[in-house]
Amino acid sequence: MSTSSHARRRIAITGVGLVTPLGIGTDATWSRVCAGESGIGPVTRFDTSEFTTSIAGEVRDFDPAQWGIAKRETRQMDLFIQYALAATDMAVKQAGLDADKPDPERWGCYVGAGMGGLGIIESTIKSLTEKGPRHGISPFFTPSVIINLAPGQISIRYDVRGPNFSMVSACSTAAHSLGEAARLIERGDADLMIAGGTESTVTPLGLGGFCSARALSQRNDEPTKASRPFTKSRDGFVLSEGAAVMILEDMDRAKARGAAIIAELVGYAANSDAHHITMPAPGGAGARRCMELALEDAGLAPEQVGYINAHATSTTADSIETAAIRGAFGAHADKGLAVSSTKSMHGHLLGAAGGLEAAICALALRDGILPPTINLDDPDPECDLDYVPHEARKTQVEYAMSNSFGFGGTNACLILRHVG
């Protein structure tokens, strides 16, 4: 989109809503990220005694009623939809769109999830087995579990009559949703987009699937130390849940109505490894190319990017991403480029991860604070960048990149700019 004959529309981020293991609310989450705290703990929702991993990043103290979700509606929406509604409520209010309502046809909603309503799928299979199909399956089963009911419910609630669907790309879902939503505004199909990701897979099947794949940390005795990207002792990722939603808005429109602009979304790229279902391509070739394409899309030289929120999940792939960053950024990777994995604090929110991490980039640019990588006690020699270890750093950078890579070899990179 960098070659069109007319200037493309610029994208302002005017609202952020977060529901995470660190807290419910953008400030609640961001303040704990800045303090270098962990949101990981023992799983409380079900008995994990037979699982190899018994820790996760659960959203705590979520009260649906606080977000206008009636008791009967909680049976009609899996948690991932409820989280998305709560995050949207925060983002819409922060952007001032509750008072200053957009033209319904000029805004849309791209909110995706990696897996959908596993919790209700599991409980329904149980009741189907016990009671049979007539009484074992709720008439609300289908709309309570399918992924696009997150944007569907959002559109009903906020009178959003533009494009409304979900992208599904595993752990890069939210990043793709944000990037594609920006494209939509750039080409004039909408003026605002509600975009991001949501996930609620802390369930027996969700946890068990990753246990079986040997993908999760088994550091069950030290939950807050379990997510330790870039260390020698990392032993897998930590499953988390939550939602991250942003309001993307045509910059001219945002300025005209006097909205507070948190950051600008200036670059996006998506590509694939075409290599393996779960492992990155050798040397991180796909990831490297995606970063290069995002820089090109934003019209930036590598030296202009001051911070990368890495995908780094605390698995073997952390060193591959490190190599990919070095490949894309050259000498700058060792001089002046800060990289951190905030998954060290909030764990891996799967389909919501890229949204949360892009939001963290936006807040880092707004406040001039680079979030840390905690638990970096024993760096892996193959992971040798400036990872902002242990403590947040007060540094104002101009551009920040957020990396998201998913199962299926799918990649997305976003670049955000500081708005002074």
């Binding site: 009636a70 008791k71 009967r72 049976r75 009671k131 007539r134 009484h135 709720s138 008439p139 609300f140």
Partner: protein, 78 residues
């Protein structure tokens, strides 16, 4: 049989998130109690389980008010 009425009202309150004082016999499920077609199906299934009856689909279509539901159960339960 007033026992049945109380039990039906209780299930309606539970399923539709409404208060007993709002569940008069003349109330329409769709007009007054904001039930959509899926919520009515959910309610019917809950009544079936509670009273061990099977309400055929063409009978479901005739249950429009709280009174219709109470009368159906009174006539078919037990």
């Amino acid at each position: 049989m007033s026992d049945i009425k109380d039990q039906v009202v209780e299930i309606i309150c539970e399923q539709l998130d409404v208060k007993p004082e709002d569940v008069a016999e003349a109330k329409s499920f769709t007009e007054d109690l904001q039930a959509d077609s899926l919520a009515i199906v959910e309610l019917v299934l809950a009544l079936e389980e509670k009273f061990d009856v099977k309400i055929p689909d063409d009978e479901v279509d005739k249950i429009k008010t709280v009174g219709d539901a109470i009368n159906y159960i009174k006539n078919h339960a037990g």
